[in-house]
Amino acid sequence: MTDGPTEAGGDWQTLSSLEAATLEAIAARIVPGDDLGPSAAEAGSVVYVDRALAGPYQTLRTEYQQGLAALDTAARDSYGCAFTRLGGAEQDTLLSAWETGTDAERAFFTMVRRHVLEGFFADPMYGGNQDFAGWRLVGFPGAVGAYTAAEMQSGTVLAKGYSGLQDWIARQTGKGIAPA
């Protein structure tokens, strides 16, 4: 890997293709795909991180670059291939080691886990939680704007449909609540 900033690859704004692929592999271990629903990678967590690194998280660009590179190096050292080429169990082993490893490893793991979950559960307008994958998983209708007394008492997971903030804003036009 080079010492300077990596070139953004393909459709990514800040991440290189390899960085994005590695991050997607990590995201798919943090929230794996299974019967309950898509993985965080499929839900677009890395799209979220990529956009965040172009904006409010831009000061973390170096941490991501160095951490992803170091993780890939660790994979090659331990298993002889890139992190993205490992099976899930090996990826979990490496991530678990980092979760309790050196200060730098723990800091990187903590940060990535947090950001992957942000991408999974934040409003879709941030790039992740695509098709409300995160909200569907937990039964959170999102920015619906109102619940009825019956819904509050229902005692059941709501099947109300999902709404992002922008969906709600679009519905407000003409209702007397000023849109964005």
Binding site: V31, Y147, A180
Partner: protein, 568 residues
């Protein structure tokens, strides 16, 4: 060149500043309000966004309003955000739990000494009685409740049996009940407590009230804490008193303006102007007949006075007694999370903080003999964080992995099956807790920022341990299949109070009972910094009520022949 002058200059347009602006302008005074933050509109405020608001502090995380915090004199300070948020202040995004303080909270020192003796008060404590009684403030509590619009039920109708006496019921009935509140209530009743609907500064139905401003009732959208209200049902000074002030035409609201000093005249006994940085960073000065320092969270109010040094006030304005900055106290906020396998709660719905509460473990409502600590706090049904999935993603019991398949299954099952039990625990002001200036950290104008020094004292640790046991017991009594302490080591820095304490003795306080600075009679403080003690209840209604009371005093004294007439 024309002079820039106002009858009254108010620094800060939060809870207290908003009330003062309304009361003074409607009485005919010309008022300039200096507000560091912005006047926000619907596009910034009518937003439901857990990432933007709760996680990233969209309404307050701002590099222009940093303070520092440290545990004690030996510890390093860390830079933190203050909760200020522009016009409306913290009332834009508060959780809106709204209380009248208990009758005895106005004389905590005397009642503690009488009941438990001198030895019960911890060494170094600075607890003092208030220079007023509940009866002095009651009419202003009622005025605030009516004008702001608050929802609840009085003791006679099933409300808090420990409530201070009221002449009439709340202007609006309680917010709607839900499964989570019922769950909490059943557990509380089982243990012999007296649960009641949390009194809320949130309209439970459409309301106009004495201000003549029609506002919609709560829609239970679930994006309440950390958010401004999408329908303005949650009361902020921005949607209640400030529009009334603006409609008079006598409020000159200057946003993006950072006050940096109250200037006094050559005698040192009269404030003559307030210096401030305008939005372009130019230093300006506005002359003032009266000055009100309502700069919100304690830290900025104290800071402005500390920065207002002069020959006559070398240690800051109002500091002749050496009490400026002292007597700081804040709430500890512990949290227990409870999971349920036998029911779905959907606790994310609604203003998740304004749910059922118990006051049985607050103040001196239970016998503290032999317990080794004093006081207590309100305990309430809550959610973790703001109640949404991002907040819940961190509410993981110790025996569940924090990522992977088991984690995914956990959040999937329990997001709709959890509630939290929270508490606001009183801490006592003491010698080790104070506000001063941090010479090592400067704002963009080169001025030292405010620094809060505070940590848990042995009294706080003992109270905390007791309350965590009670909260876990309560979780079990509600039928939780699992519960754990999610926040067990909180700092005593929420709902900050003290720093410009009120008193009857100029040697032991910064202001008199009206919030009037002893040394300089045309300077007033309107903030929780006035509180000589805190109690285990959210402070905002008391901040509002004190501002109404202060305004009434000022307008009385401003009339011909009154003590303040000569300043106008």
């Amino acid at each position: 060149m024309s002079r820039d002058r106002a009858d009254a200059v108010i620094v800060g347009l939060g809870a207290a500043g908003g009330v003062l602006a309304k009361e003074l302008t409607t009485a005919g005074l010309q008022v300039v309000a200096l507000e560091r933050g912005a006047l926000m509109g619907p596009s910034e405020l009518h937003v439901m966004d857990e990432l933007g608001m709760t996680v990233r502090g969209g309404l307050w995380a701002n590099a222009n309003q940093l303070i520092t915090r440290r545990l004690d004199r030996e510890s390093p300070s860390v830079i933190v955000n203050s909760q200020a948020a522009g016009v409306g202040g913290a009332t834009l995004h508060w959780a809106a739990l709204i209380w009248r303080f208990h009758e005895e909270d106005f004389y905590t020192r005397t009642s503690t000494l009488e009941r438990y003796g001198e030895e019960a008060l911890p060494p170094g404590n600075l607890v003092a009685d208030w220079p007023m009684r509940y009866g002095d403030l009651a009419p202003f509590y009622e005025q605030a409740e009516g004008e702001l619009g608050v929802s609840g039920v009085w003791a006679h109708g099933g409300g808090n049996p420990f409530d201070a006496p009221r002449d009439r019921d709340f202007p609006l009935p309680p917010l709607l009940d839900d499964a989570a509140s019922r769950t909490f209530r059943e557990g509380a009743l089982k243990l012999g407590y007296h649960p009641f609907p949390g009194p809320a500064g949130i309209l439970s139905r459409d309301y106009t009230g004495p201000l003549g401003i029609a506002r919609r009732g709560c829609q239970y959208c679930g994006f309440c804490r950390h958010h401004a209200c999408i329908v303005d049902a949650k009361t902020s000074s921005l949607v209640s008193v400030i529009p009334v002030a603006r409609a008079t035409g006598r409020l000159d609201m200057r946003t993006g303006c950072t006050a940096m000093r109250v200037n006094v005249d050559a005698t040192g006994t009269r404030a003559r102007s307030v210096s401030y940085y305008d939005p372009q960073g130019a230093l300006r000065e506005v002359e003032a007949g009266l000055v009100f320092v309502a700069a919100g969270s304690v830290a900025e109010t104290v800071r402005l006075l500390l920065l207002s040094t002069s020959d006559h006030h070398p240690a800051g304005l109002g500091n002749a007694s050496n009490w400026l900055g002292k007597g700081f106290a804040g709430h500890m906020r512990p949290s227990v999370v409870a999971l349920y396998d036998d029911r779905v709660l959907n606790s994310f719905i609604g203003p998740n903080h304004a749910n059922d509460c118990i006051d049985d473990l607050n103040a001196d409502h239970f016998d503290h003999t032999g317990l080794g600590f004093l006081r207590g706090g309100v305990v309430f049904q809550d959610v973790y964080g703001s109640g949404g999935p991002l907040s819940f993603s961190e509410a993981v019991p110790p025996d569940v992995p924090r990522w992977g398949s088991a984690y995914k299954a956990y959040v999937s099952r329990y997001f709709t099956r959890h509630l939290s039990i929270g508490a606001w625990l009183e801490t006592l002001p003491h010698e080790g807790a104070f506000v001063d200036l941090d010479a090592a950290v400067r704002d963009r104008f080169g001025l030292p920022v405010a620094r809060i020094t505070a940590k848990r004292q042995p009294q706080d640790d003992r109270l905390l341990a007791f309350m965590l046991d009670r909260m876990m017991e309560l979780a079990a009594a509600t039928g939780a299949s699992k519960s754990w302490v999610q926040v067990g080591a909180p700092l005593p820095d929420q709902h900050q109070a003290g720093g410009t304490r009120m008193g009857n003795d100029p040697e032991m306080s910064v202001t008199n009972a009206w919030g009037q600075v002893w040394d300089v009679p045309n300077v007033f403080v309107a903030s929780a910094s006035l509180f000589p003690s805190l109690t285990g209840l959210n402070p905002t209604l008391t901040i509002f009520a004190l501002a109404y009371r202060q305004a009434a005093f000022v307008l009385r004294e401003a009339a011909a022949g009154g003590s303040l007439a000569r300043y106008l």
